[in-house]
Subunit: 116 residues, 4 copies
Amino acid sequence: MAPGRTRWIIPEGFIPSESLPGAGRPLISHEAACILNAGDEDAAIEIMVYFTDREPVGPYRVTVGARRTLHLRFNELEDPAPVPLDTDYASVISSNVPVVVQHTRLDSRRAEVALL
Amino acid sequence: MAPGRTRWIIPEGFIPSESLPGAGRPLISHEAACILNAGDEDAAIEIMVYFTDREPVGPYRVTVGARRTLHLRFNELEDPAPVPLDTDYASVISSNVPVVVQHTRLDSRRAEVALL
Amino acid sequence: MAPGRTRWIIPEGFIPSESLPGAGRPLISHEAACILNAGDEDAAIEIMVYFTDREPVGPYRVTVGARRTLHLRFNELEDPAPVPLDTDYASVISSNVPVVVQHTRLDSRRAEVALL
Amino acid sequence: MAPGRTRWIIPEGFIPSESLPGAGRPLISHEAACILNAGDEDAAIEIMVYFTDREPVGPYRVTVGARRTLHLRFNELEDPAPVPLDTDYASVISSNVPVVVQHTRLDSRRAEVALL
């Protein structure tokens, strides 16, 4: 069986609206869910986004092909609604087959910022 | 049942008293516990803070509503006592229902600082 | 028995082609899999690398001696093919004996970049 | 019973010899093992340090009191031998009672460095 689990949870979420001047896609501030589907069956993924003071939004739907990885940027989700910037959120990622998910943020607002 | 566990532990804790000049709330140096309550019942959270050389302080109490996330900054805890700055601490987070917790620090003291 | 597991998965992978000017090996942008073999038998490691839009590449083979650590840089893998730069990837690390793996990236493209 | 485990493993280890000019103890480049002993019995800790090309060194011994945290810097270990700078290492942390360990690095070599 493919490695992983069918549900992953990322409590941290915050997409800064600021980035370094002139940043292209690689250096624009973003949050990502890096998803690996190491199995032999396509993964149908559903993402629910949670907020501080209103009901969750979703599901967002993406497919990760068999033996493929998708580094999904929350900034680029559009349907049913873009994820708001400068806003605390969290996410629950569900899959019909086991996958592995790793969360990252690239934050290019200021030289002084370091993240742990 | 909602995803998660009823006890989470964060051994790292250190809130720098310095931040980049003119930083507003988003860029002030801080430590956060990002809590997701994906369940249908409000979560009653208790936090105990541990130190290097004295007895623990707490419980701090917060509520995270059903289907809500709270990105709680340790800097903003006040009762029973503010968390001291520039001081090593650790925390134990307990909940009456399962939640998921992720720890982060934003450190804006100096451009040279990077954190792993 | 030695601590660890025989399979580890790192969904995040991206080696920036840029580094700070004049960077030597310590400061060149890189991704690493830090592997500890705390057991008394050498570990035969195989790494498969997964991509967004093509079939996985590998296995890459390395040995980590008994009671040794290897901080393996993906940048330095060559056989069967170098890992492409500026490209999303993921990896699955398999071992014949239990090992422990920790993933890190050092990114020295720009002062403004912070990573979580 | 106190939360945690009696063995923790940190495959990543690298203490840069460089720091930002004039850095005091808070900002000197360092690696730390943040240990929380939330139980009611003192924890006797032993640390073994592993290398790329020679036998492990240790045990280093420290005590973490009941209901205390210790943010132990590998830079400050001295007996049986200092941990060498600019050198890849890994560590295994053993305790006679359950503790929780979190690993961090603060790296202040260069503004351009970001760590994941």
